[in-house]
Structure formats: C-alpha cells, structure tokens
Subunit: 297 residues, 2 copies
Amino acid sequence: MERADIAIIGTGPAGISAAINAKIRGKSFILFGSSKLSAKVGCSEKIENYPAVCQVTGSELNGLFHKQLEELEIPITEEQITGVYNMGEYYLIMADQTSYEATSVIIATGVEAVRAIPGEREFLGRGVSYCATCDGRLYKGRTIAVICDNKHMEDEVDFLCGLAKTVYYFPLFKSGLTRENLVRPDAGAAGISGTDSVESIMLKNGEKLDVDGVFFLKQSVSADVLLRGLEMDNGHIVVDHNMATNLRGCFAAGDCTGRPYQISKAVGEGNTAAHSAMAYLAEVSGLYKNSLNEDKG
Amino acid sequence: MERADIAIIGTGPAGISAAINAKIRGKSFILFGSSKLSAKVGCSEKIENYPAVCQVTGSELNGLFHKQLEELEIPITEEQITGVYNMGEYYLIMADQTSYEATSVIIATGVEAVRAIPGEREFLGRGVSYCATCDGRLYKGRTIAVICDNKHMEDEVDFLCGLAKTVYYFPLFKSGLTRENLVRPDAGAAGISGTDSVESIMLKNGEKLDVDGVFFLKQSVSADVLLRGLEMDNGHIVVDHNMATNLRGCFAAGDCTGRPYQISKAVGEGNTAAHSAMAYLAEVSGLYKNSLNEDKG
C-alpha cells in the first residue's frame, strides 16, 4: 500500500477544512471519519456566528460541508481508528480491518463529551474496548457492559446484543432500545474493577455487576488513547500557534486542542494544521533528498 | 464617553469574526476599519477553501460578510486609528478626530504587504505619516512624497495633491492617476534621510529628492507601529494558542499573527480572540469587585 502524505482523523469542521486544503494543494491524504460528519454540529439548532453563512441549522451546515467535499471529490474512509503509532519516519494508523501509513497526521477527533470513568483507561485492551466491530467477537456468549454516549452509535449496541449472552446497557441519552438480552441497570456506571482484566462494573448506587468486558461507544475518545505519548493538558492536546503537537509530524485541530469549542475556530485550525503538515512534508522530503545525496557522495 | 468592553481593529475576516462573537455574547464593542472590508479578500478571483462556502469570488464573500454584519446590526466605525496606548486598566485608542477607550483590544489589522523602507519607522511623526486625513494639512504648499500600496487608497493621494505644492508619487501598482502637481520619479523609493526630521527621499537609482514629508498609504501597517511594546517576530505579532499577545488584555487575530494567510485561519482566530477577550473581561471585572470588597473590609 502506498504511504499517504497526510492522514486526517476526524470529519468534523477541523478535519474537513484540513482535507480541503490538502486536496487543493495536491497532496495525497486519507480522511477518516463518519460520512455523517459531526453529530455535534448536526444537532445544533441555530448557528449564527460562522462568518459568511448567516443563520443556518447545524444539519444545513453539514449539508454545505457535504456538497463541498463532493465538488472537490474528497472521499471519506469510514473506518474506526483504533490506534496511531509513531514509527519515526511515518505514522502507522490501525483501523478495524486494515492498517494505513502516512508521513504526517492531523488529529481532529473532537473532545471527549463524557469524562473517562475510573478503570476505563487502565483496563483498555484488557476488557475495555472503544470498538464494537473490532472486539465484539471476543465476547460471544459472554456478559458485557456497554456505555454509549450518542444515539447514532446505537446500531453498534444492537450488534453487540447479537453476540453477547447478556448486555448491561448504559445509554447517556434517552434511548428506547429493547432486546431480549439487554438489561438496564438501576444506576449509572461509576467505575471498572478487576485484577489482570475487567471483572466487574460498579454502579453509582454501590451495586456491582460481574462482566467480562466493557464497551465505551463514544463519538470522541481522548486523543492520547489513540496516540500514546501525545502531550495533553486537562483533556486537550497541547499545540503551538502552528498546530504542532509535541510529536514531530503530528498536528491537531479543532475541539481536541481546547476551548472555545467553535466551528470557526475548528476550520481555522484545520487550515493551519494542513499548511503546517505541508511545510513538514517539504522539510522531510528535503532531508530525504539530502540523505540520498550524502549516500551517493 | 463610555468605555467599551472590546475595541476590534480591522474589518477583514478576523475582525468580523471577533465582532460577530462579541455581538452575540452581548458585549459592548467598537469595530474599527473600512466599510469596504478587506481589499485583499475583495481582490481574490476564486476562493475554494473556505469551508461551507463553495467557489466564491472574494467580492461575493465580502458581500456575505456585509449581509451578516447588517443582519446582526454591527456598525463599522470608519476612522483611521493612529495609535493604541496601554493605560494599564484600559487601552486608549487614538483616531483621526477623537479618542476611544476600551478594556481590551483585538488587533486584526492584517499583514504589511510591503516591507518598511529604511527611515520609515525612524522618522514616524517627524515627517513620516501613515494618515493623509490626520496629517495632510501640515504639508499645505510644501513638497511631499507619497507611497501607496493599493488602488483603493488613491483618493487620498488626490486629497494630498489638493494640499501640497508638489507630490512625488510612488504607486506600488498600475496607476493612471495624473494631476498638475503630481510627479512620477524614474525609480522606486529606497529610503528616507534627514537629521531631526525628513529632508529627502532616496531613489533606487541613487537619485535624491528633497521633501518635507513622506506619506505611506498602506492597507496594513505593522502592528507594533500602532501599539508600542507589542512583541513581534519577523513582522508578525507573537501570540499563544489563545491569541493572547505579550500585553495583558490585548489579543490578535488573522494575518497579523503569521502564516498561513488564509480566510478560515483568520475567522477562527477572530473567534478565539473574542472568547479570550471575554474571559479577560470576566477576570478583570472579578478582580475589580474583589478590590472593592477589600476596600470595604
């Protein structure tokens, strides 16, 4: 597989803006995310502070983004990213089914709407999963808990119900979903416990339920879960004015870099991140050429 | 005169974005700049990387900005700002005819298209002026040089021709302007010399013309000319990720903070700068209340 110049992770306003600029400048890139674009934007009733677009609803704005992506022929790769690995010269991006390589990465994954609960990070990969498609089959015939923060991901809950023996379901929104093996506990999830791997989930009422695994179906997971070693500050990626993170070749844009959580801030940062990634590409390609010359010399 | 919460200097995309957010959040503010908005935007033939607005010309985009300012009832104060002074608790903004006070300032003045020539900064206020309206009358019947970087300001050249005895004119664009007392030197301006004040302008061909004053009619003047003490780096205002400058209560947004010179970057930074200014206002109003309480105690 060819190595892309830029991997853009996220199809909210920041990721879209980065992709538009990469496209216009003729870079090879992969835009990962949902083709439904940002659910957070989509839910906004009225947006009146996005310059040049007067009074739109969020779904109208997403419609305008869609139209622009189509006109510029920018495809969306709808795979859930499970991890990004810094390989020095490039980044390895692990998705559900396959892996990708890119020289630079722009993280535009939004901000975690719901704070992690105790045990969530500690047991990641040892009973805790963020991806039903990737890890669901491991829990066939077993007992799991599922915490879901938005309606758009409820089809994944349904998918897990088809595999597991029992699903303790904790929706963080009004949900009417019913399945034979779906159980709604009396209180919210407070924490996860176990020794080597997940053994039980604690409820806010003090109760404890034995489970083999816990799925968190979240729109956005904190970026340091995706890419270890990324410098964070209070849940946000630390960036400079050029949107550079502490990792060379890795840039970030949008809500994941901090407040204000605003569409225009996100598109601006996506633009800057794309330009910084392109400057980085020029820099490393120059270095590469120099090292080739040195080899010849 | 009432002190405004925020003075926004510049009516390009960054200043407009800041003003929209200040308006929506109910802050008192003054938006200084040209009601023609950004000439740089206006001249763009095609803009295809502003998210949600497909393929517009610059003048169409300025039209959309105009419409939004009108709908939100945001007036533009069309006065040329000659200086901004940090008074500690507030900023004093000197305009052509009057002065204004504001608790915080957002500088969104764009980037100087043409680098300053030797002597330009040194003789500012001693024969060098950036404002025909403010200083033109000082040169009635005298000899001046005028350097103008854009067609939109040529009416000011005309105004100066009506006052001065002789005008040596250096347009930095194709200009067809003719006046009886307008002289076009054979070469471009290379520098300004004098002892206490301006005495002559040097040309690139080595020639020297005696003048009493030199006017620079520029769309954007470097921000540190406007506000002394502002930390700059290679012609750009140094800002952090919150758009804060080195001066408390002073924020910056858009091209003046550095590359990329892009509309979406400018609107994003204008949004962030407005939110940072509002956070600053909340902080100082809290401090003010605390100091009142201490006085009472």
